[in-house]
Structure formats: structure tokens, C-alpha cells
């Protein structure tokens, strides 16, 4: 029980290892991947004394549980959720010292979707192309968590951890997403009416959303140009419009190229809230220059 690792007791609906992503390889068809809510990752890492680039767990809706094989400082943030250590309530959003052999339980999110769990020393699975992130589109990085899987931890940071920061400010999960969007590069593939629709009408987060894209329910955007666009490079936050006219906002695991026209691009600063938006959340787009 002295090795630096945690063993998965309950994997949860979808729990993956994530860091800040795998950039610089898009020209080879490698998605950037990485945590959907990078601000939350930086904060949980700071709370346990890790560099912001350390790998953490990203849970989806119903959390997960792990048994520690060593004493370790942990912090749970992102979506607010109950945290228990050996059945006893523990603090969310701040550093918690957990003894070796304990079960750390991250419960179902009270609000929001994705909780982030940092361990002192970070999750030390082998990096692939410079990142430990699980990429669900192309299957790079470690597999999603499964029961009984063992995750190695890195050496604990030298900095003192407990009480390093007591009560950091956490943005609450959104009641409504207001996404600032810069039109283009293919806004000329849409009618003026479609661009007005995008700027004025309400959409809702579809339950079909995932790490690849935020799917939306709402009015279809009508194309001004028929035909096909040759595949072109895609960026994080691209609002791609497939033939059914319902926009999809590309998130971390998005494909590097795509053939449907991109009407605009959502500001990166607005995408953290997208990671925490539950299905049914109202969405508005605000065009900005």
C-alpha cells in the first residue's frame, strides 16, 4: 500500500485523465484534446501545489471513487458535488489530505457536469505526444477509467499544500450560456436571415453533447450556398453547421479538419462554462468583432 497510486473503485459514467491538451500536432490529424474546463484544472492543481499542467481526473455527471495507495493531498473542483473520504463528508473546492488506503468518493454533481480531481504529484500515466489527456475522438492517451484500473501518481510537490489557499473563488455553473461569437470564416455560406437567427434566437444544450462538440437544439440556420465545402482546418470553438442546420460548437476532442461551413467561432474564454452546461440549458450567441 506504499506505492504512489490510486485504484479505481467506481469509474463513473465517463471519467478520463486530462491535462491542458496535446497542441502542435493538428497537421497530423491529432486533436488538441485536454480538459473541457481548463480554468478549473489550473485551480485544482494550484490547490494541491501542482503545476497547472499536471494531469487530473475529469468526471461526467456522477463522479467516481478511488482508493488511495499512499497518503495524498487532493482537491475536487469544477462542478460542485459531494466529496467523501471513507464515507465522511470532506471539503469541495479546497485541499484535503487523504490517508493511505482511504476511499475518496466524488458524488453526483449538484450543479454543472464535470468535476475535476487533482492529486498531489499529478496522475503520472505515460504522456503521448506531450500530453496525458484521453482523446475520445482518436483514441490517444489513456483509456477512460474502468473499475479496478490503477493510476500512478507523480512525486508530491515540494510546496506546502494543506491550507495553501483556503477559499478560492469558483465560477458557478451557468443558468444560461451567453457565447460571444466572431462571425466567419464561412458566414457568407448562410442567408442574412440565418445570421439574424443565430444572433437573436434561443438555443438549448442537447443531451447529445460530448467532449467533441456542444450540440444545440433550436432553429436551423439556412444556407445561402448549396454544395459541399472542401475539408478545411478547424479551431476550438468553431460553430460548424451540418446539413440539418443545427449548429455544433467544437470542443477539445474536435476533429482537426471538417467539411461543413463554420459560421463563426466562440471565444475561448466562454468555453469553460460550456463544459458545465447541463442538457436543456438555454444558449444565446452574441456576435462580437
Amino acid at each position: 500500500m506504499s506505492d504512489r497510486a490510486v485504484a479505481v473503485v467506481r469509474a463513473g459514467a465517463l471519467t478520463t485523465v486530462q491535462d491542458l491538451g496535446r497542441t502542435g500536432h493538428a497537421h497530423l490529424g491529432v486533436p488538441r484534446s485536454g480538459a473541457l474546463d481548463p480554468a478549473a484544472v489550473r485551480l485544482v492543481n494550484r490547490l494541491v501545489g501542482n503545476p497547472g499542467t499536471a494531469a487530473v481526473l475529469e468526471t461526467t455527471v456522477n463522479g467516481c471513487a478511488v482508493r488511495t495507495r499512499c497518503a495524498v493531498t487532493v482537491a475536487v473542483g469544477g462542478a460542485p458535488c459531494p466529496v467523501r473520504v471513507d464515507g465522511r463528508p470532506a471539503a469541495w473546492g479546497t485541499a484535503v489530505r487523504v490517508a493511505a488506503g482511504s476511499v475518496l468518493e466524488i458524488g453526483t454533481a449538484v450543479r454543472g457536469v464535470r468535476a475535476y480531481v487533482a492529486f498531489g504529484g499529478g496522475i503520472d500515466v505515460g504522456p503521448v505526444l506531450g500530453s496525458r489527456s484521453t482523446d475520445l475522438l482518436s483514441g490517444l492517451g489513456p483509456a477512460p477509467l474502468a473499475d479496478e484500473m490503477v493510476l500512478p501518481l507523480g512525486r508530491p510537490p515540494y510546496t506546502a499544500t494543506k491550507g495553501y489557499v483556503d477559499a478560492p473563488p469558483w465560477p458557478g455553473p451557468p443558468d444560461e450560456l451567453v457565447l460571444r461569437v466572431r462571425l466567419g470564416p464561412r458566414e457568407d455560406w448562410f442567408t442574412d436571415a440565418a445570421l439574424r437567427t443565430l444572433a437573436t434566437r434561443a438555443y438549448r444544450v442537447s443531451p447529445a453533447s460530448n467532449r467533441i462538440g456542444l450540440r444545440l437544439e433550436g432553429p436551423a440556420l439556412e444556407r445561402a450556398l448549396p454544395g459541399e465545402l472542401a475539408s478545411e482546418g478547424m479551431v476550438l470553438g468553431a460553430v460548424q453547421v451540418p446539413p440539418d442546420g443545427r449548429p455544433v460548437v467544437f470542443l477539445a476532442d474536435h476533429p482537426t479538419t471538417g467539411g461543413y461551413p463554420v459560421v463563426g467561432v466562440v471565444r475561448e474564454a466562454d468555453l469553460g462554462a460550456v463544459a458545465q452546461a447541463v442538457p436543456g440549458t438555454p444558449v444565446r450567441f452574441t456576435p462580437v468583432r
Binding site: G139, G184, A230, G233, P255, V265, R267
Partner: protein, 216 residues
């Protein structure tokens, strides 16, 4: 040549999409970008992603300025690059080979000769890590995708669609016409570089049976 017909569009806060007149111009412009990056005269960019008729530059500090500058660039010709082409031995045993030969109006043997005679170049990558879109076949040898994609195409399948040849790095669904199989590993994250084929790489396909290479 001058970058005639070049259009640079802003994409979000940090990216520029350069649209070119055609595939050849795009490959030449991409090569020019790599030359300038190697020479240290290109502003820092995180990603340079070529595609069929565009090149995306992402992670640019001043996209407005770069977008204004790009269309005025002098772009050098797409020269044959120094260094040998990557050779990929292929067993021409694909289930669609006969159909492709029929589309070309030639015998199966002649189709193999056409494919092994061409010199290919990776125009761009996408679809999956390590999947390259290779140009080099004459225009008249373009083929349509299959009407119904296969749910599983085996890794190592050599395939054609439109003007492109590609090799599936791993098993995946796919709608391309399968003409052969290779044992060459296209993608291996345990190796440096992981991708055998990157944009700009020159490639030649050889017949595995004819040379004794790549047999099982």
C-alpha cells in the same frame, strides 16, 4: 509565382484561414510557410494545418496583421524536395481493385502499374492521426467514394477516393475504394516521429510481391 487568388480570413481570435486557388497552390503555399518558419521569418504559430484548398494558421498573436500580409507573399514553386521518398510496399489485393481498374478502363495489372509509377506527395492529413491525403495520380484517375461506406476497413488498407490515395493507420469505418494492403506502420506513438506521413512527405508505392518485400 505570386499568390494569385489568395484570400486570408480571420477565424476567431487567434487564427487565420488562407484560401488558395487549388490543390497545387495550397501545397506550394504550405511549403512556403514551412520554409519561412524554418528560416525564423514567420511569426510564432501553434498549428499550421493544410487541407484541400486552405491552410489554417492557429495560435497567432496578431492575426489581423498576418491576414493582411499573407495574400501579398511571393510563393516559391513546389520543388522536388531533397531526400528520398518514403517507400510503401503494397500487396495489390484490395476488394475494390477490379472495380477501380474498370473505372480507369484498364486491366488490373495496368492499374497496379499506374499506381506504382506515380510519385505521390502528402497534401494534408486528417480523419485520423497519421492518415495522409496523397496527391500524385493524374486527374483522369479520380474515383468516387463507395456509395455505402464499410463499417470496418482493416489497418494498412491502401485506398483511393477522389484525387487522393490514403493508407488507413488503424481499423476504422471508411468509404474509400480499397486497392491493396501494406504492413508498413503508418502511426506509432512509441516512435519519433509517430506519423510516417506528414504534409509535404514524398511517397512511392511498390508492389510487395514483385520485390519480395512486405510478404507475410
Amino acid at each position: 509565382m505570386n499568390a494569385v487568388g489568395t484570400r486570408a480570413m480571420r477565424v476567431g481570435e487567434r487564427a487565420v484561414l488562407v484560401e488558395l486557388a487549388g490543390g497545387e497552390e495550397t501545397e506550394a503555399f504550405h511549403a512556403e510557410l514551412l520554409r519561412r518558419r524554418a528560416a525564423g521569418t514567420l511569426p510564432a504559430v501553434r498549428e499550421i494545418v493544410p487541407a484541400a484548398r486552405t491552410v489554417l494558421l492557429d495560435g497567432v498573436a496578431d492575426p489581423e496583421r498576418l491576414a493582411a500580409e499573407l495574400p501579398g507573399w511571393e510563393v516559391g514553386p513546389l520543388s522536388a524536395r531533397v531526400g528520398a521518398a518514403v517507400g510503401i510496399p503494397v500487396r495489390y489485393d484490395g476488394p475494390d481493385l477490379a472495380e477501380v481498374a474498370a473505372l480507369w478502363g484498364v486491366s488490373v495489372e495496368a492499374a497496379v502499374r499506374i499506381h506504382t509509377a506515380a510519385e505521390f506527395r502528402v497534401a494534408f492529413c486528417g480523419f485520423a492521426p497519421g492518415f495522409g491525403y496523397l496527391t500524385g495520380l493524374d486527374e483522369r484517375y479520380g474515383v468516387p467514394r463507395r456509395a455505402t461506406p464499410r463499417t470496418a476497413v482493416p489497418a494498412g488498407s491502401v485506398a483511393l477516393a477522389g484525387p487522393y490515395t490514403g493508407v488507413y493507420p488503424r481499423s476504422s469505418p471508411g468509404g474509400w475504394q480499397l486497392i491493396g494492403t501494406t504492413d508498413t506502420v503508418l502511426w506509432d506513438t512509441g516512435r519519433e516521429p509517430a506519423a510516417l506521413l506528414a504534409p509535404g512527405t514524398r511517397v512511392r508505392f511498390t508492389e510487395a510481391g514483385a520485390t519480395g518485400e512486405g510478404g507475410r
